[in-house]
Amino acid sequence: MTTSVLFDAPGPKTVARHRAYTVVSVVALAALVAFAVWKLYDRSQLEYALWEPYVTPKYIQYVLVDGLLETLKMAFFSIIFAVVIGLFLGIGKLSDRAWIRWPAWLVVEFFRAAPVLLLMVFAFYLLAIGNGPLSPFWCVVIALTLYNGSVLAEVFRAGINAVPTGQSEAAYAIGMRKSQVMTSVLLPQGVKIMLPSIISQMVVALKDTSLGYYILAPGLTAVGKPIYLEFRNQVPTAIVITALYVIVNLILTWIATRVQKRLVGEKNPLELTRVGNLDGGRNT
């Protein structure tokens, strides 16, 4: 019996009432699902011809290679770059020198508060359009790197702060320099605490790669369009592509949970400060 802060353990009358609720809600949910299926059938969306591309090897290959693989590549590159940028900004925000701390704070706040799509469109116009040096693919990567880098800066800052102060005090006491304390005492212990948040951020990055649709970048969202334009199967396309995203994200979430349990235990994940906290990067 799970106890909850919201209600007592039910007595016999309440159990009977809950059983009645269960029956009603099962009927309601079944009706909802039945309606959805009937609607699909009624609009002849369940016909084999519309689903055929998704069982044809040629199109499966197209969706997986030109779509999923490109999406994963974009997410991968942006997370790798974001970790590097986030590390510098996060340590910058913890610096004792105001002339490092303030710019780092400003950059982090700016890119956390601006929408990713705005960054993407800007990167697209600055670097890709016409004879720009980069493809839309890299514009997506740049925008996601800047955004996720600033979020990860917060993760790094919080992770380093989560290391008990006795650790850095002990390191200073045995005569280490500031950079030594950071690289050989705080970061190795902090990484363990940060890793789950970094993996969860990968889910965010992966979902945001779909925004590349607006600047003509490749990816899962983009491969749907030629298929539904050819076969007029908008509904099956949307369902299949969404399912692919959900599966990949669930796998990533599962890994993050495993890592969390393994490295951090059941403790709560890192507490990050909000965007727009107006403290000028002084939060410790």
Binding site: V5, S25, F110, P115, L117, L118, V203, T221, V246, L278
Partner: protein
């Protein structure tokens, strides 16, 4: 920058639309998210599972795919929401695009609202409710006086993050025919490519101002309900 100032009307209109999307879908997702959270922590286990499934599904779907569902797949099923364009309230009417965008944003954001609510309720220690019952409070009294005030306090920070994410997510509507801030920025940049950096900064500042206002309001609310522990 000149391009923004000479088109300042468009700039204001664009952010007006962004705020409109934010307010309408913010209120709708607070309501729908709260209903989901009630189902999620309620006593009926099938509804717990249904709400959990909803949250998992929508949290892991990119917002853009939900927009594609609403804008491209739903019309095939016969739901194009064109009927709202005939409804006129006080000389105002809304476009089908606006309604579709709000539905997509609401479906997506309510999953996060539900999780924020749930974490708020879970943050109240079990002993609090037990102590309330021990001193003879009825169920509704212990809810009203003990559990919910503490839960509300714990809910404010994650809920603010959800709302700030929603402000930024309204930009996705740009890809589906709404002339809100990002779409306007794109159009302006298209016509004034030489001023693209100024235009970008002007629009980024617009978003940052909205984010700061929401954030400051939440700090004020948080300070008001704060108690010494």
């Amino acid at each position: 920058m000149d391009a923004v100032f000479s088109n300042f009307d468009d700039y204001l209109k664009a952010f007006g639309l962004t705020i409109g999307l934010f307010v309408v879908s913010g209120i709708a997702s607070l309501i729908w998210g709260t209903i989901l959270a009630v189902l999620r922590v309620g006593p009926v286990s099938i509804l717990n599972k249904a709400a959990a499934l909803y949250v998992t599904l929508f949290r892991n779907t990119p917002l853009l795919m939900i927009f594609i569902f609403m804008a491209i797949a739903m019309p095939v099923l016969g739901y194009n929401f064109k009927f709202v364009e005939d409804v006129e309230i006080g000389g105002w009417n809304v476009s089908a695009f606006f309604v579709r965008s709000c539905i997509a944003l609401t479906l997506y954001t309510s999953a996060f609202v539900c999780e924020a609510m749930r974490s708020g309720v879970n943050a109240v220690p079990l002993g609090q409710a037990e102590a309330g019952r021990a001193i003879g409070l009825t169920f509704s009294q212990s809810m009203k006086l003990v559990v919910l005030p503490q839960a509300a306090r714990a809910v404010i920070p994650p809920m603010t993050s959800v709302l700030i994410a929603l402000i930024k997510n309204t930009s996705v509507a740009a890809a589906f025919g709404m002339a809100e801030a990002v779409a306007t920025m794109r159009a302006l940049t298209n016509n004034n490519a030489d001023q693209r950096i100024g235009i970008f900064l002007a629009f980024a500042v617009g978003y940052i101002v909205i984010v700061e206002v929401v954030s400051l309001a939440s700090y004020a609310a948080e300070r008001k309900v704060k108690v010494a522990r």
